[in-house]
């Protein structure tokens, strides 16, 4: 479904991603963990060309594009195949909850306005926020905002969903409702790539966990392997530190 080959990203002289290769199968849930500043966000942002990679190719659902020769049109096409959930501030602040979900549908996905609203209504039912349909983002809790962000992503029926630390900006008491929604999506076999610091969540929800360090994928494997028997010393050190910080790992 998603295939990344030889991806490099440089910001000026700073080489952030080194020859990253990564494949995600249809219905697979892959978590990315790793220290701060490693390039996890940059990797996700290269997948939908919010950052233009320096070299390499991105393939989603049969569409392959590389930064050397791609048209604006191709970039828009690629973006239509994925959806991104950001840490915060990503709901359109001038739009109501319902409009947030409906807007992309009628502007970019060919729905009529009426059909877009109808679909947005059904998504709101699903994420349990139907009563907030006419509220503006400022009037929602952080957890509710994230759920709307996820709802907006679901609505466009992406081939792959990209989560960039969806719970990092949240009050601890609000984290669970967001994780719960992501778990529901995992059960429905959505293809997801999730950057997270929630180790227990990564362990429970993922089919595969990737440890990134210094712009490269260090180790990749089933959660048990990465969390219990990591083969790489860097992974070992990171997992130990994170588990220590976040409390015991729930198995």
């Amino acid at each position: 479904m998603l295939d990344i080959r030889g991806l490099n990203k440089q910001f000026g002289g700073l080489h952030v991603l080194h020859d990253v290769d990564l494949s995600v199968k249809k219905g697979e849930v892959v978590s990315i963990i790793g220290p701060s500043g490693t390039g996890k966000s940059t990797l996700l942002r290269c997948i939908n060309f919010l950052e233009v990679p320096t070299s390499g190719t991105i393939t989603i659902d049969g569409l392959t594009i590389s930064p050397e020769h791609c048209t604006k049109q191709e970039i828009y096409q690629l973006r239509h195949k994925s959806a991104m959930i950001f840490q915060d501030h990503s709901l359109f602040e001038n739009k109501t909850v319902l409009e947030n979900i409906a807007l992309p549908l009628w502007t970019a996905y060919g729905y009529t306005k009426a059909a877009a609203r109808e679909k947005a209504e059904s998504i709101l039912e699903m994420i349990g926020l139907a009563d907030k349909r006419s509220a503006y983002p400022y009037a929602l809790s952080g957890g509710q905002q994230q759920r709307v962000g996820i709802g907006r992503a679901i609505a466009i029926e992406p081939k792959v969903m990209l989560f960039d630390e969806p719970t990092s900006a949240l009050d601890p008491s609000l984290v669970e409702e967001v994780l719960e929604l992501i778990r529901t999506l995992a059960l429905k076999h959505a293809t997801m790539l999730i950057v997270t610091h929630e180790m227990n969540f990564a362990r429970n929800v993922s089919d595969r966990v990737i440890f990134m360090n210094h712009g490269s994928i260090v180790e990749s494997g089933p959660p048990e392997e990465i969390f219990l028997h990591p083969s790489d010393p860097e992974t070992q050190a990171f997992v130990q530190k994170s588990v220590h910080r976040g409390g015991p790992l729930v198995l």
Binding site: E93, L103, A139, I156
Partner: protein
């Protein structure tokens, strides 16, 4: 010499009669300047060195020279160089000159407001599949509008006041009429007193409009928003 209130009352209507001309110049120039400004802001994002240099020159020129000189330059100077400008009326020249001048200020106000919108808003829009133009249209400009209103209204008040120099091109507006009446009656004080009152009231009215617009654009005071946040009194 004493203040002749009766003369003020008498002369007031004959000056007020030219208010529509002043308003016409102001609103026509204001509208054209707004449209130009939006174009300039959009063009500002085009990565072309030449285009950016031209835009910079445009902004520097209109903000770096007096508006009266610009109007003379346009009306008398260009007409000498290019015959097509010969048929330009003083009114048209004033509107063109004031539009160009105001657009150099308004585009900077809009640009500042656009920059105040969180980058994440644009990224979220793009990630949702919208084109750059759609992001501007549906997300960035509406949010920037709220921030831009106070400065844009100030720019417009500036424009409205500078319409009073249009008389130098022979346009008969409030200022021209005042000057003429004053010249023929020698009651300068009374005449300019009336003109000042008219301009002052005009500015106040525009300020009221600004307050209303700001309230209208603020989502936190909109009905639907308030109705849904149960915590709000």
């Amino acid at each position: 010499m004493n203040f002749d209130i009766e003369y003020v009352v008498r002369v007031f209507p004959s000056i007020l009669k030219y208010l529509p001309v002043t308003l016409e110049i102001a609103f026509l120039s204001g509208t054209i300047a707004m449209l130009l400004s939006i174009c300039i802001v959009l063009l500002r994002r085009v990565p072309s060195r030449i285009l950016q240099a031209v835009l910079n020159f445009y902004l520097d020129f209109f903000r770096g020279t007096p508006v009266v000189v610009q109007l003379f330059f346009l009306y008398y100077g260009l007409a000498q160089l290019f015959p097509i400008f010969k048929n330009l009326s003083g009114f048209s020249a004033a509107v063109i000159g004031l539009s160009l001048n105001a657009s150099s200020y308004m585009s900077e106000s809009i640009r500042g407001a656009v920059q105040s919108v969180h980058r994440r808003q644009t990224e979220a829009g793009l990630a949702c599949g919208l084109t750059h133009l759609q992001v501007m249209q549906h997300i960035v400009f509406p949010q920037a509008a709220k921030v831009a209103v106070p400065t844009l209204v100030n720019d417009f008040i500036g424009l409205m006041k500078s319409t009073s120099v249009a008389f130098v091109l022979g346009v008969r507006d409030v200022m021209a009429q005042t000057k003429m009446l004053g010249g023929s009656s020698y009651r300068y004080f009374e005449c300019y007193f009336v003109a000042i009152i008219i301009y002052f009231i005009l500015t106040k009215l525009i300020h009221c409009f600004q307050k209303w617009l700001e309230r209208k654009l603020d989502v936190t005071t909109r009905k639907e928003g308030a109705a849904c946040s149960t915590s709000e009194a």
